[in-house]
């Protein structure tokens, strides 16, 4: 990795990577984050002008100006995550390891963190190695996905390709004038709630089935969706369990 | 009454829980053995230089050591786990679980935790006392034995009150994690007869931290040196302390507001 052998733990290698763990902090608990940043500066030997410039930039970007002056233990979980991430980026790592970074955070904060990491990745051409239970993290940050189950690699490739391989269908949700009757000619009916009917159709058939529905039924509302990534992943694991 | 039954039930569950961890038993035995060895070595060293310390012979001092170890076991088995859990619950705002149960809160927070393996120290302490008695001539009069048991009970009650008073203090001063270590340090004073300490310290470890009542007094009882006035004082102090502790606990509860994260 990066031209080094990781297990040798050479100093130059370690200076190029960074680890952020969700729900665990590496910053000093009782002191303001700014003091911990200073500590990081000395650990990674970041030249002071670069350090100050990047630090102030990241603080402004995540809007944590007053947070960095309060002791870390007084911050909420989301605020703590923000300062942790800033602390981990100060030495401009090329590889960023994120271990469950959004765990326990509320939805807005999760989005904010994802956006920020994606931005950093883009601007600095850094590599992000992400482990997460949240598929939204995966969707937002990962082009290449590796699914590992019990130490075996089940899949390694594009996120889009993953869906095509494992779950090559789409769902069509329609609200009909009259939802009763046999609709199985259109596709698998996976959900029915009065006049709201949801079909699963093979990807290739989607356009044709949609056209037929619109022509032959009284459609009040129609929605075509890719299978949710959670279902796709679930299928990957399920397939493994069977094979 | 129901409170007693609930208490016993909690105790039983706590014991069964702990019994699962047999490795802890081996570790506890090792720990107790080391502490005992250290205590014995120190006593041997002391008595290699003198024949009696403050009027106590070596065998009599063994009885003091045994009582201190026994009491230590009682504290670490029943009192300390509950009181530390209480301070934790207050700090993390989890006390409401205990407060909303239909039993007396003080009773509940005092019995729900038990560190079974600390009972090893109770056995060790009792054995050391027995050995001391053997070396002293072998017989223990009925009155002495009774006085010993009673003194132990009073001592335990007083130590419980002391710990509960401190734990109740956590309603106001939230951080109390240093208590076990701090107490452990001060409790070591119990290994020696209270008479050797300077006045001010003697007062402190009698009435502020009731170590003299918990260790020296029962040791005096078992070595037939106890005067009935001392036992009466112990009884009186125990009652007063318990009443005060109860009042302070309820006072603290009234002021309690959940301190959430």
């Amino acid at each position: 990795m990066l031209g080094h052998v990781p297990s040798k733990r050479e100093r130059d290698f370690l200076r190029r990577i960074s680890l952020v763990m969700g729900n665990r902090n590496q910053l000093q608990w009782g002191l303001p984050a700014l003091d911990s940043f200073e500590l990081n500066r000395s650990i990674y030997q970041i030249p002071r002008p670069d350090f100050v410039a990047l630090r102030d930039e990241l603080i402004a970007l995540l809007e944590i100006g007053d947070l960095v002056r309060k002791p870390v233990r007084q911050l909420s979980l989301g605020e703590r995550m923000k300062v942790e991430i800033v602390g981990s980026l100060l030495h401009r790592p090329q590889v960023l390891f994120l271990d469950e970074p959004t765990i326990g955070l509320d939805v807005t904060m999760q989005k904010r963190i994802r956006e920020f990491v994606a931005l950093y990745r883009q601007r600095h051409e850094a590599t992000v190695m992400l482990t997460s239970h949240y598929m939204a993290d995966v969707e937002a940050l990962c082009e290449r996905v590796i699914v590992i189950h019990h130490g075996k690699i089940l899949f390694d490739g594009d996120l889009a390709a993953l869906a095509d391989t494992v779950a090559a269908w789409k769902t069509i949700a329609v609200v009909l004038e009259n939802g009763a009757g046999d609709l199985s000619t259109y596709g698998d009916v996976i959900h029915r709630d009065g006049d709201l009917v949801t079909f699963r159709v093979p990807k290739a058939e989607t356009a044709r089935v949609t056209a037929r529905l619109l022509a032959e039924q009284d459609v009040l509302d129609l929605n075509v969706e890719d299978p949710p990534i959670e279902d796709v992943i679930e299928l990957v694991f399920a397939r493994e369990a069977v094979e | 009454m129901t409170t007693l039954r609930v208490a016993l039930l909690h105790l039983r569950i706590g014991v069964m829980n702990d019994l699962q961890y047999r490795v802890n038993f081996a570790l506890q035995v090792l720990q107790s053995a080391l502490a005992l060895a250290t205590g014995l070595i120190v006593i041997a060293l002391v008595y290699s230089h003198v024949a009696e310390l403050n009027g106590w012979s070596q065998s009599e001092l063994l009885a003091v050591l045994g009582t201190q170890i026994l009491m230590g076991g009682v504290i670490r088995m029943l009192i300390q786990p509950n009181m530390m859990r209480l301070t934790e619950d207050v700090r993390e705002g989890k006390l409401d679980h205990a407060l909303t149960k239909p039993v007396d809160a003080q009773m509940l927070v005092s019995v729900r935790e038990v560190q079974v393996w600390q009972a090893v120290d109770i056995l060790v302490g009792a054995t050391v006392i027995a050995i001391a008695l053997v070396r002293l001539g072998g017989d223990l009069g009925v009155f002495d034995a009774l006085a010993f048991a009673v003194a132990l009970a009073f001592g335990a009650v007083m130590l419980y009150c002391f710990w509960l008073l401190l734990a109740t203090g956590s309603f106001w001063i939230v951080s109390m994690w240093f208590l076990p270590e701090l107490f452990e340090g001060v409790f070591q004073t119990g290994r020696w007869p209270v008479g050797i300490y300077p006045q001010w310290l003697r007062f402190g470890i009698t009435f502020l931290v009731p170590i003299a009542f918990a260790v020296t007094v029962p040791a005096e009882a078992v070595t037939s040196r106890l005067e009935w006035q001392t036992l009466a004082l112990a009884a009186g102090f125990a009652v007063v302390l318990f009443a005060f502790t109860r009042w302070f606990w309820r006072f603290g509860l009234r002021n309690y507001t959940g301190a959430s994260a």
């Binding site: 370690l14 190029r16 009782g30 650990i43 950093y120 | 701090l182």
Partner: protein, 282 residues
């Protein structure tokens, strides 16, 4: 964001200068943090003082009962011994194996191992920095102890100078010994038992319990071959005992020797520990 191209080589840093910078920064941070937690520190110090005060009272009582001295020491000299003991103790507090247990359990270790600096530097620097506030907090306690127990003191300037170095020697020896012990956590979670054994040996053979001269001859002989006496007895004796210049400097040399041994043992255990950690995972 600023646009330093990512493929540029990392700024080459002078190894020694960066280490010094790290130590100073870490020590400063430790000082700040200790001042934040001063109430807890005070509680700890008070508890810590209980131990030597008990020993002091016991041996003073024996001395008084035995016509003034025991083992050649008067009550006043015992007081001096144990009061200096408290200062030495403050200085030789280090990161314990329980700390390593906690570190591994809380997952902090992974983060530590991914830093470009060996965790030992952090521990050494952190605890060293912490000494400054600790000694400051401790001074009033020392004054009180002196007023209460009337120690008899007789020091020369050289003794004070050697003392100043010796306490750091004690610090280093204990750090490396206890870190080596702590690394055993990589193999078992029951390192507490081993550490307890270590503490008991230290208690008896280091002068922590009593001045070593009060022990029978054969115990004193054993103590000579172990590192413990250089973590308590020697530093205390530089101030309290009447050591000749040769003994003072020879003692420092012994501390250097045991520090080197400690570093050696620690480095060896570390190599195997790291191998085990990466093999087994956390």
């Amino acid at each position: 964001m600023s646009t330093t191209p990512i493929t540029a080589p990392l700024a080459q840093v002078n190894r020694l200068r960066s280490l010094v910078d790290f130590y100073l920064t870490t020590m400063r941070t430790a000082v700040q943090q200790q001042f934040q937690y001063r109430a807890a520190t005070y509680m700890y110090l008070v508890g810590m003082v209980a131990e030597p005060v008990i020993y002091l009272v016991v041996w003073s009582t024996i001395a008084d009962q035995s016509g003034g001295t025991v083992g050649g020491l008067t009550a006043g000299e015992f007081a001096a011994y144990y009061i200096v003991w408290t200062l030495v103790r403050t200085m030789n507090i280090v990161f314990t194996p329980y700390g390593w247990e906690w570190r591994i359990r809380e997952g902090e270790l992974s983060g530590q191992l991914l830093r470009p600096l060996h965790p030992i530097h952090y521990d050494l620097a952190w605890f060293a920095g912490g000494k400054v506030p600790w000694v400051l907090f401790y001074l009033p306690i020392a004054v009180v102890l002196t007023l209460v127990f009337n120690p008899t003191f007789d020091v020369r300037p050289l003794e004070v100078a050697v003392f100043g170095v010796a306490v750091w020697g004690a610090y280093l020896i204990r750090t490396f010994n206890q870190t080596a012990l702590g690394l055993i956590c990589f193999w078992t979670t029951r390192v507490g038992a081993l550490f307890q054994l270590y503490i008991v040996l230290e208690l008896l053979l280091s002068g922590r319990l009593v001045p070593l001269t009060l022990f029978p001859e054969w115990v004193q002989t054993i103590a000579w071959f172990l590192p413990f006496r250089w973590t308590f007895y020697f530093p205390i004796q530089t101030l309290v005992g009447d050591l000749t210049n040769a003994e003072l400097l020879g003692g420092l040399a012994m501390q250097v020797f045991w520090t080197v041994v400690g570093i050696g043992v620690f480095s060896l255990v570390w190599r195997y520990a790291i191998r085990r950690y990466t093999a087994v995972g956390n």
